[in-house]
C-alpha cells in the first residue's frame, strides 16, 4: 500500500513540441491509474514549470482558434480542477518578464477549482525534487 509522489518537470515551451502537453495529460492520467494498481496504491503528481516551460502557463492562449486544438492552458486548468498541484518557477518568470497576473492561476471559467497555481522559488522546487520518488522530465 503506497502513495507514490511524482514530480512532472516541464522545461520546454508550449506548441514547439508535444512534450508539455504530454506532461499534463500524463499527470491527469493519475486520476484513473488506480485501475492498474493494487488496492491502496496511488500516485500523487505535481506539475512544475521551469525554464522556458513557464511560458506554458501564460493566460489567454488561443490554440483552439489558431490551431484547432485544446490549449496547454486548458490542460493546466484541468489539472487544477482535479487537484493536481501546478507550480511555476518565480525566478524563470522574472527572467522572462512575466508577472503573476499573466499566469493561469485558477479554473474559474471551468467551474472553479479548490487549488490555485503556486509561484515557487527554485529552492522549493529542488526540495521537492529531492523528496519525490520519481522525476519525469518533459
Amino acid at each position: 500500500m503506497a502513495a507514490v509522489r511524482l514530480l512532472f518537470i516541464v522545461q520546454r515551451p508550449p506548441y514547439k513540441s508535444e512534450n508539455p502537453r504530454l506532461a499534463l495529460t500524463h499527470a491527469l492520467a493519475s486520476q484513473t491509474a488506480e485501475i492498474y494498481m493494487d488496492d491502496g496504491d496511488s500516485v500523487v503528481p505535481t506539475v512544475v514549470f521551469v525554464g522556458d516551460g513557464v511560458l506554458n502557463a501564460v493566460k489567454s492562449q488561443q490554440a483552439m482558434k489558431t490551431y484547432g486544438v485544446t490549449s496547454t492552458e486548458s490542460h493546466i486548468k484541468g489539472c487544477l480542477m482535479t487537484d493536481v498541484p501546478i507550480w511555476v518557477c518565480k525566478e524563470d518568470m522574472e527572467r522572462l518578464g512575466l508577472k503573476e497576473d499573466q499566469i493561469v492561476s485558477d479554473a474559474e471559467d471551468m467551474g472553479g477549482a479548490e487549488i490555485s497555481t503556486k509561484f515557487v522559488s527554485f529552492a522549493d522546487i529542488q526540495k521537492e525534487m529531492e523528496s519525490v520518488k520519481h522525476l519525469l522530465f518533459f
Binding site: 507514490v4 508535444e18 512534450n19 493519475s30 492498474y36 494498481m37 493494487d38 520518488k133 519525469l136 518533459f138
Partner: protein, 119 residues
C-alpha cells in the same frame, strides 16, 4: 533483481534516442532486471509492424521483438497511436496498447523510472 521502467518519447527516425532505449533495456535485462517500456508521443512509431530495414534509418523492430521474447513488457500510448493513424491491427505481436494511466501505475512498483527523449 530490480525493476526499471523507461518512458520513451522520441521518434524512430530523427534521433538515436529510441535506439538507445532498446539497447539500455537489453543491457538491464542481461543483468537480470525486469524492464517495462512505455512508448508515447512520437515513439509510437514502433507500434507499426512490418517496418522495412534500410541502412540509412534506425530499425528497431527486430531488437524490440527479441526483448519482448525475453520478457520485456512494452506498451504503447493508445491515444498517441490513434492520433497518428496506428491502429490496433498494426501493433506488433506482444506489444500492448493502453492509456497513460498504465504508465502512471507502473511508477508505484518500479525501482527506477527513466524518461528518454522528446522532440
Amino acid at each position: 533483481m530490480a525493476e526499471l521502467t523507461i518512458g520513451v518519447f522520441s521518434s524512430l527516425v530523427g534521433s538515436m534516442s529510441l535506439d538507445f532505449s532498446f539497447r539500455l533495456a537489453d543491457a538491464a535485462m542481461a543483468k537480470g532486471h525486469k524492464v517495462n517500456m512505455w512508448l508515447s508521443g512520437n515513439a509510437v512509431m514502433m507500434a507499426k509492424k512490418g517496418q522495412k530495414a534500410f541502412k540509412d534509418y534506425s530499425h528497431n523492430e527486430k531488437k524490440m521483438m527479441e526483448l519482448i521474447g525475453k520478457g520485456m513488457e512494452i506498451t504503447v500510448c493508445e491515444a498517441c497511436a490513434e492520433a497518428r493513424g496506428y491502429h490496433k491491427e498494426d501493433v506488433p505481436q506482444g506489444m500492448k496498447r493502453a492509456s497513460m494511466d498504465w504508465y502512471l501505475a507502473k511508477t508505484v512498483k518500479t525501482d527506477r523510472l527513466l524518461h528518454i527523449g522528446g522532440e
